[in-house]
Subunit: 337 residues, 2 copies
DNA sequence: TTTAGCACTCAACGCCATCGAGTGCTAACA
DNA sequence: TGTTAGCACTCGATGGCGTTGAGTGCTAAA
């Protein structure tokens, strides 16, 4: 599509712009990247690249900046991929293994690490409860009619919720219920918990079974907002494109709007995905780029994570870091399963 | 200390400045607040107020702005107290009662409400575990050697932690341990869990008691950072004093530095407290004011909450809101106990 | 096809005059 | 003795204006 020299010029412009955040001129390119041609030639190439939509000009006497299309081409074909180093892997692994016992913490830590390593805002979407396998159910008395439902789910998730029951239950009765539920539920996922299983439970335990099922469903229906973690929001304020407080506020508010990310980051694709500027569906972030990946348990996609920053981001490094965190997280989650 | 007219002038300047965020001149005062004197007289008073340190002048041809000392005097003696309305109380109560079952959620909600009602950043410090009473301890098997410790503490707190044990325990054994622990611990606070009780447990259960105590102590030692919640940080970006991104960043970073607030908000005083500008110990927030209060369970201080904003804040309204949230939270926590 | 040369554009910068809000001081007044 | 009108003064903010310089597009020569 683009001949060799145009590609080289485009790459030079993009990499320079990523580094400096200033429009780049033909002179700069000729000086920094030894392409063996004069600024005038580069100027011609740049004019062509602008005409075909890869570059833009903020005003006539400034240099060029990459367009979304330019970044897209860069990410897809020009960019030199970066591989994370063994030390980086070790660092991430060591930090994450500390939180190995509890998945929620592990996932939060993954977000924090991603943010700190990329110096960007990071978002992590935890596995929806539907993806998890029942391991243990325990009902514990709290008060007269308050019961604590503790669910241990695989991999290493503990959920608890206090619910109010219709009538009083004593410890013995709750223990019995717990045992019955355990028998029915152990090893199945929430997804499998269809009407069939529910009916079986009701059949087994009669009216009490009914109550149990209600307990369980209530206990499970967690807040979706608690499934999305964001971190490193202050990094945004370091980027020159957010020196304007209004813009920064808009992005930070978007980040706090958790349910937006629930859908945005969640898709079933494996591998790392880049979404650039206007490619984003949500208009609030159309001057930003996202680098996202899914993470897995035993080859099964369970959640996703990513970074967000201005379109002018170090894509190669971001991709490497997202890849690193996602794969390490997958590795640890699969191990703990 | 200040004669009547000086007080009136000071109040007029402060209230105008709070409203407009612009230095206030003698003309404005004379026009807006009908003091029955000319700008010239007010000018004299203002010069006196500046000399005695209640007002400051950014530059000679601008109006006056209040100093920390000025705000302090305003808060202590000039300010017209605001009482929260019955509707506000109802709104807060209704919103909070939804999260009644679980204290942590309730407290987080209190923070969110405080932030949204004051349009400021809010911070809430949850009760340290030492303040809570054991109600139920349950050890549950997760894996071969992984045990889930569930602690139900009063008022309505559930803590859980998965810990790795030295040797394998089966369900029966864990049930036995749980029962033993419950017997020893029920009704006492972590504070009471001194060496005496620990020794008793070891005496009762021998080597297994030792393990249990270790489990418990490990399970209890939660992360102090998880005890501080902040919300409404984007409100900061609306204040004109934080139009400069660097300043905003500094404050937001300070807010994310959780352990700073642990000590700052926690003291045993009852009632609402105001800390203005340089009165703050931490230099990062010396151009901010804090309005904080403690909340109680049965008259016993267990935690604290507050708002932070520029020294130019609506103290009267802030005080009312902090008071409202703190007292409603105390009320609900006391009830649930 | 490349490149040197050149005219042109336009944001950024610094300079300067103007404007006006607000002051302090003085003198007159109640 | 306190209050106020009057007035000179200060100084940040605003806006016009010329200069600078980076960078361009075009043309013509190599």
């Amino acid at each position: 599509m683009l001949d060799d020299r145009k590609s080289q010029v485009l790459r030079a412009v993009i990499e320079d712009y990523i580094e400096t955040a200033e429009p780049v001129g033909s002179r700069t390119i000729a000086r920094k990247h030894r392409l063996g041609v004069s600024p005038a030639t580069i100027r011609n190439e740049m004019a062509d690249l602008e005409e075909t939509g890869y570059l833009e000009q903020p005003h006539v006497s400034a240099g060029r900046i990459p367009s979304d299309k330019g970044y897209r081409f860069y990410v897809d074909t020009l960019m030199e991929p970066v591989q994370y180093t063994v030390e980086q892997y070790r660092q991430v692994y060591d930090e994450m293994i500390k939180h190995y016992r509890e998945m929620e913490r592990l996932i939060q830590e993954a977000g924090r690490l991603l943010a700190s390593m990329t110096k960007s805002a990071a978002i992590v979407v935890a596995p929806p409860i539907e993806q998890l396998t029942f391991q243990h159910v325990q009902l514990l008395p709290v008060d007269e009619r308050d019961v604590l439902v503790v669910l241990i789910l695989s991999p290493n998730v503990v959920k608890n919720k206090i619910i109010r029951t219709e009538r009083a239950f004593d410890s013995a009765e709750l223990a019995l219920l717990s045992a019955g539920l355990n028998q029915r539920l152990k090893g199945i996922t929430y997804r499998d918990l269809g009407p069939t299983v529910l009916r079986e439970i009701v059949a087994d335990f009669g009216e009490i079974g009914q109550v149990m099922v209600e307990l369980l469903v209530k206990g499970l229906a967690g807040d979706k907002n608690e499934q999305v973690y964001s971190s490193g929001m202050t990094h945004i304020l370091n980027q020159p494109e957010f020196r304007d407080v209004e813009k920064a506020k808009a992005l930070i508010e978007a980040l706090e709007h958790k349910d937006l990310w629930l859908n945005l980051l969640c898709d079933d694709l494996h591998g790392v995905r880049v979404t650039i500027g206007k490619e984003n569906i949500y208009s609030d972030i159309q001057d930003c780029s996202l680098v996202t990946a899914t993470y897995h348990v035993g080859g099964h996609v369970v959640g996703s994570l990513g970074v967000i920053g201005p379109t002018r981001m170090e894509y190669a490094r971001m991709l490497a870091m997202v890849e690193l965190i996602a794969s390490t997280l997958s590795e640890l989650l699969t191990e703990m399963k």
